[in-house]
């Protein structure tokens, strides 16, 4: 997006991009943690060395990095979007987690779960079409992507 484009268009693009990062970093981060804990550290002892070794193992480490990215991108998103907008829209992550669970952990996805996925997607679509910011933010004047 060029700095010359309209502020609303620029923010729409930025909101979509950062929302996508929030959703993917949380879903992939949780998946990576779960994969790492199942495969690298199934019997982790509660000693400091064992915990450290687990934290720096590839999958658990990647999961932690992704969850740090999740925290930062969510903070950024909350700086210009409502909490009541961010919460439902980023719930798509639950859907991605369910699908990742199905394909990579061979978890059963029941009819109730598919119904749940459909409701989350429908709810996200509804909230995604509302005004993303209904409060005035003092710093909103200063802006460039």
């Amino acid at each position: 997006m060029s700095p010359g484009s309209k502020p609303t268009e620029r923010l729409t693009f930025k909101t979509r991009l950062v929302t996508l990062i929030v959703i993917l970093s949380q879903a992939l981060g949780n998946w990576s943690l779960a994969w790492g804990m199942k495969h690298d550290a199934p019997h982790m002892a509660l000693s400091p060395i064992a915990v450290l070794r687990t934290i720096f193992s590839p999958w658990v480490g990647l999961g932690i990095v992704l969850l740090i990215l999740w925290l930062l991108s969510r903070m950024a998103l909350l700086s210009w979007a409502d909490l009541s907008y961010v919460l439902p829209v980023t719930s798509l992550g639950y859907v991605i987690s369910a699908i990742l669970g199905k394909y990579f952990f061979a978890e059963e996805v029941s009819v109730a779960r598919w119904a749940g996925i459909a409701l989350v997607v429908a709810g996200t679509a509804l909230v995604g079409r509302t005004e993303r910011n209904t409060t005035q933010t003092p710093g909103a004047v200063e802006s460039s992507v």
Binding site: L87, L119, G123, L126, S144
Partner: protein, 122 residues
């Protein structure tokens, strides 16, 4: 249901709600985070020295560990829908405390998502 599970659930929901409200309040006050060169790191390093943001992250950590502990005493099919309940509470508090204007479409969407998350845990 064991009483410990209810205590953990209340701690988890309470800390999630408090953490999210603090984080949203401070990020609104900060204003839009810019992604231009060099300023992103500076913005975040300033934010992490903000006491309210630090407190928000502490609450998120409390919420995370009480969720982990909750999973050891209760089923996932209880823990996840119960945590989706915090979502409705947060929407109400966002209206009351953060003065967000929540129209019918957003209420309907939030309710659908909360029901959907509850179903996902079945």
């Amino acid at each position: 249901m064991k009483s410990l599970a209810w205590v953990l659930l209340i701690v988890m929901v309470g800390s999630t709600v408090t953490g999210d409200l603090l984080q949203s309040m401070e990020m609104k006050r900060h204003g839009e985070v810019c992604f231009s060169n060099g300023r992103l790191a500076a913005a975040f390093s300033a934010l992490f020295r903000n006491a309210y943001i630090a407190l928000a992250i502490l609450f998120m950590a409390i919420s995370f560990f009480s969720f982990l502990k909750l999973l050891t005493v209760a089923d996932l099919s209880f823990a996840v829908p119960a945590s989706a309940g915090s979502f409705v509470l947060e929407t109400i508090l966002a209206k009351l405390l953060l003065k967000e204007q929540i129209n019918l479409r957003r209420w309907a969407g939030a309710a659908l998502v909360a029901c959907g998350v509850a179903l996902l845990a079945l």
